[in-house]
Amino acid sequence: MKFLLRRAAWMLLTLWVVFTITFFLMRAVPGGPFSRERQLPEAARRNFEARYNLDKPGWWQYFNDLSHYARLDFGPSMSLEDYSVNEVIAEGFPVSVSLGVISLVLALTVGMTAGVISATRRNSIYDFAFMALATLGIAVPNFVLASICVMLFVFWFQLFPVAGWGSLDKLIQPALCLAAPFAAYIARLTRAGMLEVLNLDYVRTAYSKGLSTRTVIIRHALRGAILPVVSYLGPATAGILTGSLVLERMFVVPGMGTHFIESATQRDYPLAMGMVLVYTFLLLLMNAVVDFSYAVIDPRVKAE
């Protein structure tokens, strides 16, 4: 309990620091939300600024924003004028989550299987093949992968639609492309972890008890080997859940990734702040979950 409370306190503190830095950094960048090619009449600009409290002194805005954010009210978006930031997140986040969940499950299944096979059949053709693929998966940027995907699955085999959202077949390509680098990374981590564990005494003991290879690997070795994967999962999940600009653009996925970039380029202060805070929160949350599950998986680690 004490562990959780302390964690929560740290989390709030970090969020506040991130908020403060973002707040001042954003306003230090040249250009503003109402920069237009045509100069606005003074009265219009003034009213625009009043609508978003930008006419108030900096410190006033800072504390006003802080008190609103503390109540989870992110205010109106400046670039998507018909929406509040909360609505934008409420529309985009579930999309990113559902895409993220599929990618994550895909990455874990494929990555761990490949990793385990590579480790148990070390230096075999499987090992080389999987590890070559994994290196490729990390090295190839996702827009290249996405283009290859489209060529293969849309124009050659005509399996999936090009892009869009709203049905399962539209989801597969972006999920594949999003999962690929993570799967590759997980495969390498699993393989390394596995190799380390396979030489340990307790695994040898398990073998000598006469257990089958399969039981030894799944019930005994994997538990130890998975720890690096688990700690990698924290930041990976936060990253995956907040979406990817490139993939969202190419596959027209209405997730959060686009907002990250566009809110910054359009100087949509509230939306950019909302995005930064959501990401920070997810990152902290996922790290906490990882630490907690560490304690569950590894008896040597205590939650404190």
Binding site: V29, P30, G31, G32, S35, E37, R38, Q39, L40, P41, A43, A44, N47, F48, R51, D55, P76, S79, L80, E81, D82, Y83, E91, G92, V97, S98, V101, I102, V105, L108, V150, V154, F155, Q158, P161, V162, A163, G164, W165, G166, S167, L168, L171, E248, R249, M250, F251, V252, V253, P254, T265, Q266, R267, S293, A295, V296, I297, P299, K302, A303
Partner: protein, 672 residues
């Protein structure tokens, strides 16, 4: 850690994974649309008073309708080979223009309705235009009504003693929501006697502009306006103000500060003091079906503006009930166009349904239309080719040469010019000879033939070719002769062969095509004039801020015609115009533009504008590069799609030829 938890953990994790997987793949399927098209980008707002930009234009034109509507000329191409945009009857089935070309009388068609079934009257237009002009709406397009008598005065809240004014008291019914200008607080109307100002703040010279503006605005808010409030008389027609009778004097201020202001009267708090809309701004409803609008000058393109989205009507009840932007949500929004808003999901799609209450509903053939916000041109083309889109736009420029011969590639010249701005306040661009030399040394033909490649026209003037009734100043491109002339001019300016010419910088906003064009120009200037040019790409926000602050030497720009008249291009460069941004100023030019606006004779007006353009081209604060063409991919079974000078494609004119579509999908109509 309890043992059972540790034991169960792997299973729990797997179960959680499966459950979330099941959630992630569950979708409510929606039936397909009759027509799917790419709108190019996310729509920022569907409030006609607040929108700017092309994607918004397409959606707003489907949802709403103005007094008139802009449609491609059914008669087809004009002698220049362009398909013009003409004004067809919209909410008004006819209008009359007075003999002095200044007063328009619009007749609202009987039976015009909102999508909720309520009648649409002339009063709706008065209210909507009032909302557009209200300073608190902060509409960027409010200037579209500046041609109307009194409109600009209302919009800019300028006042002088003796003006009829309206005072909005600080008693709006909804205090909880910040952005609710309407319903307004109590309006009291009278004559402005005088304005009592506190001492003007002494602002040190070195104060940054933003701070300066802020201080001045704070000061203005403290002004106290002494108004003689006129008595009112109630009758069954409503309220009449007895302007001729005497009334009592009151003082009002947005921010009453009696200590600073020496005003003998008690200062009441108000929201605004503006010129009286009803008696000053010449937008009047005479009866439910007649709207009379009086302009300051004969403005032949006013009918086109009336058909443009800022002047679309919005539903007063809806806006007042839900506030802004709350009223724009699907399920709440009431509109009057051929379509209604069904769903709107950010970066997913906007779904439009046919509006059964639309006056011409029997001729609207599409029932469901999807607008996608696809930003990637490649994805858009792929979606088109694989059949997800029936109308794709824009097309990536690299594949245009391959698509050009296809019958489903629809392209036409557009009233849009790509040009470079020169900052004439800074050397060496302050020298007209330098600017002319730079212009002549650009190989415009090479740019359109090897970079843009879609049939764009190299620009010899700023106004694109084919404006109805307008002849551009003479200009031709003879590259070799031009380069020789450019060298001579540069020499005359004091930089023979580019010697001693400082390194200049060309700014452009980050986009691949802009870079390629800038690179061609860079090498043209280097090879022809011996000038070193640095290219600098800036992200859009920073780019705009450099432009506004005139922190640049040469910067990329483009201008899309707001209406089909050379004035939309030329009035940009009047002294200190909001679109000028070059620091260029020429008294003769300003006078020509100003006089042309007041000229009733069309031929003489066009001659004045032509003269103005001659000055612009001789002084060259801008370097015109090329004029655009539109690029659309349209399936052969989509009918009613006409390429035109504005790239306007009203959805209610389109339909799907189902027979042809079937044949197309069976592969009988071969994809060329």
């Amino acid at each position: 850690m309890p043992h059972f938890l540790r034991k169960a953990f792997p299973y729990l994790a797997i179960a959680l994974g499966l459950a979330s997987l099941a959630w992630a793949v569950s979708f409510n399927s929606v039936p397909p649309a009759d027509l799917s098209f790419n709108n190019g980008d996310e729509v920022k707002t569907i409030d006609p008073a607040k929108a700017t930009g092309q994607p918004e234009h397409r959606i707003l034109t489907a949802l709403f309708e103005g007094l008139l509507q802009n449609v491609p000329d059914p008669a087809g191409k004009d002698p220049n080979g362009n398909t013009p945009i003409i004004q067809a009857p919209g909410v008004a089935d006819r209008y009359e223009l007075s003999a002095d070309h200044r007063t328009y009388t619009f007749h609202i068609r009987p039976g015009a309705k909102w999508s909720d079934g309520s009648p649409l009257t002339a009063a709706d237009f008065v209210w909507s235009w009032r909302r557009l002009l209200h300073p608190e709406t902060a509409s960027e397009y409010a200037y579209q009504l500046n041609y109307v008598v009194g409109a600009q005065q209302y919009n800019s809240s300028e006042l002088k003693p003796g003006d009829r004014v309206e005072v909005e008291l600080d008693d709006r019914p909804y205090k909880d929501i910040d952005d609710r200008t309407f319903p307004q607080g109590t309006l009291r109307r009278g004559i402005l006697i005088r304005t009592v100002k506190p001492p003007e703040p002494q602002i040190p010279k070195e104060t940054p502009d933003k701070k300066k503006r802020e201080l001045m605005a704070v000061w203005r808010e403290k002004w106290a306006h002494v108004v003689e409030i006129k008595p009112r008389s109630q009758n069954n027609e409503g309220e009449t103000i007895l302007w001729e009778q005497k009334g009592d004097q009151f003082a009002y201020s947005q921010n009453p500060s009696p200590q600073e202001t020496s005003c003998p009267l008690e200062i009441g708090r108000c929201k605004h003091v503006l010129v009286d809309f009803d008696s000053t701004v010449a937008i009047k409803a005479t009866g439910d079906e007649t709207l009379v609008v009086t302009l300051t000058n004969p403005t032949p393109y006013f009918k086109e503006l009336v058909a443009f989205y800022p002047l679309y009507p919005v539903n007063r009840r809806c806006v007042e009930e839900f506030g802004s932007p709350g009223w724009t949500k699907p399920g709440r929004i009431v509109s009057n166009g051929a379509f209604v808003l069904q769903t709107r999901r950010i970066r997913d799609r906007i779904r439009l349904h046919k509006n059964p209450k639309y006056w011409d509903a029997e001729h609207v053939k599409l029932n469901v239309v999807d607008a996608y916000p696809v930003k990637s041109e490649t994805t858009c083309l792929n979606m088109y080719l694989s059949g997800q889109l029936d109308w794709g736009y824009p097309v990536p420029s690299v594949v245009i040469p391959d698509l050009k011969g296809r019958p489903d590639y629809v392209s036409a010249p557009m009233f849009t010019t790509y040009f470079y701005r020169c900052n004439v306040t800074r050397p060496p661009m302050d020298n007209v000879l330098v600017r002319r030399a730079l212009n002549l040394a650009i190989n415009k033909r090479e740019i359109v033939e090897s970079v843009t490649r879609a049939g764009q026209l190299p620009a010899t003037s700023f106004v694109p070719p084919g404006m109805p009734g307008y002849t551009q100043p003479k200009g031709s491109i003879d590259y070799e002769r031009d380069v020789a002339e450019a060298r001579r001019l540069l020499g005359e300016a004091g930089y023979p062969d580019g010697k001693g010419f400082p390194k200049i910088q060309v700014l452009f906003n980050t986009q691949e095509a802009h870079r390629t064009i800038a690179e061609v120009i860079q090498s043209n200037w280097k090879n022809n004039l011996g000038i070193d040019v640095e290219l600098r790409n800036l992200e859009w926000g920073v780019f705009l801020s450099s432009l506004t602050k005139k922190d640049y030497q040469v910067a990329r720009s483009a201008w899309v015609a707001d209406y089909s008249d050379p004035n939309t291009f030329l009035d940009m460069f009047v002294t200190d115009g909001p679109n000028n941004q070059t620091g260029w100023s020429n008294a003769d030019y300003d006078k020509l533009i100003h006089d042309a606006a007041a000229e009733a004779d069309e031929t003489r007006r066009m001659a004045m504008l032509q003269k103005a353009e001659e000055i612009l081209l001789a002084e060259q604060p801008i370097l015109p590069i090329y004029s655009y063409v539109s690029n659309n991919m349209v399936k052969p079974y989509v009918k009613g799609f006409t390429a035109n000078v504005r790239d306007d494609h009203p959805l209610h004119l389109m339909w799907i030829d189902e027979e042809e579509k079937k044949r197309f999908l069976r592969g009988e109509v071969r994809q060329p």
